[in-house]
Symmetry: C2
Subunit: 164 residues, 2 copies
């Protein structure tokens, strides 16, 4: 990201994090990875993003250690897929905090455009980005679901880091 | 921000939030506002940012309702200052989540380059972005401090929204 300041060596961890995830596409790609997207076409379809923009972001995210590229054997040929690293999955609290802020301070385009954060271990909705406010447990991608009411009334369990 | 996609009418609150705070400078300006900066020169000095870039960001943040412009009577003349709105101060969990992620997944440039989130009501360090993991209370700018060890060993109490 050559047009941006380099914050990678700042003493403040907020600035260092923004050096990695300061691009909004990066956080939207992570959101969709947590929702289950793995392949280029899946990200492209969900994000309505130009091929070259998506391609650059995925490359940068692999370089930054947020995603890991793997080969996946399809029926006809092999495909590339992008797996979530632990560093990528650990950004869930940032996404949850953005979701909670957006629910409070932005206007939904239609009445069902709401997202809720659910701690699957206890089944309760949480108003915290990273700690279930029902049972107090720290929440990770492995025990968090999002209810995206405009999309489906069902919960979508998030995909944890692919540790291999 | 004309070069960016418009996510303001997306059903997903994460995308709507990123439409407002997807620019890393916006989050760094908010960080410094929470740390007490109010005037143009204070932001410029702390952020090492070009005048025109800072000016555009502050304008956009006022338009988005994150900051509020006010007139402040100095000794010689009046000055403009930028006050935190409730919507601006409510972004603290996003900044805290970025701080926690950066502490875990980025490399500090020197041994003392660490930030800790302290719940001033109970005095304990929290590993959560928005709920004290000692006493369980939801944390807001009014009862949160940051310990920025490279800067000073003292706690910096954050500035809450300026409600007037």
């Amino acid at each position: 990201m050559p047009l941006r300041s380099d914050w990678s060596a700042r003493p403040c961890a907020i600035a260092r994090s923004l050096d990695v995830v300061g691009d909004p596409w990066v956080l939207l790609v992570l959101r969709d990875a947590l929702l289950g997207a793995r392949r280029f076409e899946q990200f492209r379809e969900r994000l309505e993003i130009a091929d070259n923009v998506l391609s650059r972001r995925l490359q940068a995210m692999v370089a930054a250690g947020l995603l890991r590229k793997a080969t996946y054997r399809g029926e006809q040929r092999t495909h590339q897929e992008y797996l979530l690293t632990e560093a990528g999955a650990d950004l869930l609290p940032v996404l949850n905090a953005l979701a909670l802020w957006g629910e409070k301070h932005t206007t939904p385009p239609r009445p069902d455009a709401h997202i809720a954060i659910v701690h699957t271990a206890c089944g309760e909705t949480s108003s915290s980005a990273d700690a279930c406010d029902n049972c107090g447990t720290p929440m990770t991608a492995g025990d968090t679901a999002w209810r995206r009411s405009w999309h489906t009334p069902e919960l979508t369990e998030l995909r944890p880091a692919d540790n291999n």
